[in-house]
Point group: C2
Chain length 116, copies 2
């Protein structure tokens, strides 16, 4: 079963660019909306609006609140997400196609976006 968010959640994720090194997605949703379970490769997220959401995975969750114009790292991970705020979410994901060098990443990635 695919966990590609462009396939699991085509109403929210749109592929806006792709070449051999990156794929770029725009994500949009409204308050109360959310995603199915899906997978991200290592990605740079850039917020195009301010939003608040809950990211859920295997029995844990994190609540994130971001302003517009913030760049965050999303380590390769599977999760679902829910817009828990009162504003639309709008964000850009630049997915890296090359996997990270084995030594450069912790065994367990932080859930959701991180500052490094």
């Amino acid at each position: 079963m695919t966990r590609d968010p462009a396939k699991t959640d085509p109403d929210h994720y749109t592929v806006v660019f792709e070449n051999d090194r990156v794929r770029v997605l725009e994500y949009k949703d409204k308050p109360g909306e959310g995603t199915s379970w899906h997978a991200h490769p290592d990605s740079l997220m850039y917020t195009l609006s301010a939003f608040r959401r809950r990211i859920l995975a295997d029995g844990r969750h994190v609540d994130v609140e971001l302003q517009a114009g913030q760049a965050r790292w999303v380590s390769a991970q599977e999760h679902s997400g829910q817009n828990t705020g009162d504003t639309d979410s709008y964000a850009l994901f630049v997915e890296l196609k090359e996997p990270a060098a084995a030594s450069s990443r912790a065994a367990r990635a932080p859930l959701g976006p991180s500052e490094s």
Copy 2:
């Protein structure tokens, strides 16, 4: 001499994120303004405003006109740029730190942003 745009043109380029895989820059300028000669690694550019500019390198140039919200690839290259429009430029650059596989890129990269 450095050709890092964050060093050559600190009034225009701002580093907003960096880790071991990517560095993210915001670029801003006003009509008539431009940059010094600088170098980009392979980068994904995303326009945060509509703008028109001229990109110059070794005796050639290209004129580009972009709307807000467009994703474009900038192959590793050196150039300078000039805002030739009547609106402010505002763009995001996600620089990839890993070089491309040798086989995956043409010997001479297209000057300026490209659609693939």
